[in-house]
């Protein structure tokens, strides 16, 4: 059964009243890969994940996980999938150890085995010192780690991670990424949602970009980035009236069309190669155009969206993910 997909979803649909949150999404996640679902708030990422995890009824379409029908066999699906939510789904009134013990017992482990697994996971996720503390004293990063640990008790072959690093500081985020990479070496398949292009880039083998309940692109992170340009040179001219002149210099040097904001003298220049930034700066110096500030930025989700959908990520219909 080597060709069996971890997830195969066709035409998934979810309506909340008149609002169609998910509008015919197809997904195919191969075994052993990290598959990223990228999109802004309200795009339908969480809703899609929750449907696949049997937490929301599927209104239309068909979904299978390792060949098991999600709609017809929810109990089987729950044995195959570990879910780590956007909001840590652990018990606030219990300690870390008690949480793990409870979830292990609920999944049919004996008392002694549940205890051993809790010890193991606490160590693996660097939570031993906080094991007996009530969760109210936990930091955001510790909660996420405990949440992830709780999803791994029975070593499910498929793990759903809903925005695993949203709201975490950069250092904790890096640790989380390492942990996620480790999971795949165990043979797990991971489906994760994220709002961050660099997170998808760091982790995912393939990425589906979701916008307003539809899939607008699916590719490797590298291919997606090439569509957008690797990075952007952001310039601010000393004299705003020079923008037209500066634009000519850029066109001549790079053959790229800069995005201008003449009022403030700003221009954003897509760079096929970050090396070329120097060419532009030298070109402007030679043309006698002064610069007041300069920076090189990686493409943001907003730019990916602009490139793929023609509108930014911000003008999405605001809609709290259905809980």
């Amino acid at each position: 059964m080597a060709d069996l997909s971890a997830v195969r979803a066709e035409g998934l649909v979810k309506d909340f009243g008149d609002f169609r949150a998910v509008d015919g999404i197809d997904l195919r996640v191969r075994q052993g890969e990290i598959f990223g679902v990228l999109g802004p708030n309200g795009a339908g990422k969480t809703t899609t994940l929750r449907m696949l995890a049997t937490l929301l009824p599927i209104d239309g379409g068909h979904a299978e996980i390792f060949g098991v029908d999600v709609r017809r066999e929810p109990h089987r699906i729950r044995q195959l999938v570990g879910v780590t939510g956007q909001y840590a789904s652990v018990d606030e009134d219990l300690t870390a150890r008690e949480n793990l013990w409870l979830f292990a017992r609920l999944q049919g482990l004996t008392g002694t085995r549940a205890k051993a697994i809790a010890v193991d996971l606490l160590e693996r996720f660097d939570l031993q010192e906080a094991a007996e503390r009530p969760l109210s004293q936990f930091s955001g990063g510790m909660r996420r780690r405990l949440d992830l640990a709780s999803s791994l008790i029975t070593r499910p072959p498929l793990i759903f991670l809903d925005e695993p690093t949203t709201g975490l500081d950069p250092r904790t985020r890096g640790q989380m990424w390492d942990t996620i990479r480790e999971l795949v070496t165990d043979g797990s398949t991971i489906l994760l949602t994220t709002q961050y292009l660099d997170e998808a880039d760091q982790l995912a083998d393939r990425v589906a970009v979701i916008d307003r309940g539809r899939k607008v692109a699916e590719d490797t992170p590298d291919a997606l980035k090439t569509q957008v340009g690797d990075s952007t040179l952001q310039l601010r001219l000393a004299d705003g009236s020079d923008t037209a002149l500066a634009a000519n210099v850029v066109r001549r040097l790079l053959g790229e069309e800069p995005v201008l904001t003449p009022e403030s003298g700003r221009m954003n220049i897509p760079l096929p190669d970050p090396d070329r930034a120097a060419d532009v700066l030298i070109g402007l110096r030679e043309a006698g155009l002064g610069i007041s500030s300069v920076s090189v930025a990686k493409p943001t989700l907003d730019e990916v969206f602009l490139a793929l959908t023609g509108h930014g990520a911000d003008d999405q219909p605001q809609m709290e993910a259905a809980r």
Binding site: L4, A53, H75, R76, G85, A88, L106, E123, P156
Partner: protein, 283 residues
């Protein structure tokens, strides 16, 4: 963050996960034994929470003390001529009222609990949908027990001398606990249906007050107008109260006891499936 553990090297096997093997090992529903283990695990969780939040016990501690003393001294003379004559009527009534109050808390707390993040995990786990409902109710048996015993003790302190002796009292308390647990399914069902904990509280109040006051809990049914007497006589709370009176005051297992137990079983048979169905649908 290392993968290996030196303390228990056998539990987290470095063996790779084989999805087809896992799929082959799945079952389409929890067996009865699995369900029982899950219910017990959920009961353990509820007990832990009770220990951490003793303020939950406010209702089971205060109400028996306050209401027993208050009602005895206020209504005793008017209804039965004297406080000591009223106590045999009142104590079983207060017992039923207290049990119903505790039931109500069961529904409200379930609703509050369901809004918490951890219920998302319960839903995502392969557990019987009955477990998150039945677990806390088992832990609540302790609350019914405390409330009943406390009511009885308060009664004894202000002069109640039950004719049924120790056995009758044990029987009466046991019946109250059973009745409370059974009726709690109604409120659990409400808890799974309502939008918020406040609305559960509101609806429960509207059910609880007529059920307790339109019964023979505090006054003899014969003193009521005919139409009201008719309702009081079919009110299941009346049967429980009469049965507990028979046990406490006479130590007699009468037909009322039988009716009360049958009534409780009917309530569970109707509302337990309704609650589980409504809970599963919520997801």
């Amino acid at each position: 963050m290392t993968t290996t553990s030196t303390m228990t090297p056998t539990t987290f096997k470095p063996r790779r996960i084989d999805p087809s093997a896992v799929v082959a090992g799945t079952t389409s529903r929890s067996s009865v034994r699995e369900t029982w283990a899950q219910v017990l695990a959920m009961a353990w969780r509820a007990l832990k929470k009770m220990r951490r939040k003793p303020e939950q016990f406010f209702d089971v501690l205060i109400q028996p003390l306050l209401f027993t003393a208050m009602f005895a001294f206020i209504f005793g003379g008017a209804i039965s001529g004297s406080v000591s004559n009223y106590l045999p009527v009142l104590i079983p009534g207060i017992l039923a009222q207290t049990a119903l109050t505790v039931c109500m808390a069961t529904g409200v707390q379930l609703r509050e609990d369901m809004d918490k993040g951890v219920f998302d995990r319960f839903k995502s786990l392969p557990i019987a949908r009955l477990a998150p409902l039945a677990g806390p109710m088992i832990a609540d048996l302790i609350r019914y027990g405390i409330a009943s015993v406390l009511t009885l003790v308060t009664g004894l302190l202000i002069g109640y001398r039950p004719g049924g002796g120790v056995l009758g009292c044990v029987g009466g308390v046991a019946l109250t606990v059973i009745a409370g647990w059974s009726l709690a399914w109604i409120f659990t069902w409400l808890g799974t249906m309502a939008r918020s904990a406040q609305s559960v509280q509101g609806i429960s109040m509207m059910i609880m007050f007529p059920l307790t006051f339109l019964s023979n809990a505090f006054v003899p049914a014969e003193t009521l107008p005919g139409w009201l007497e008719a309702f009081v006589k079919v009110n299941p709370v009346s049967h429980v109260v009469s049965a507990v009176r028979d046990l406490f005051n006479d130590g007699a297992v009468t037909a009322e006891v039988g009716w009360a137990v049958i009534g409780c079983m009917v309530v569970v048979a109707i509302f337990a499936p309704l609650a589980v169905r409504s809970y599963s649908r919520k997801m």
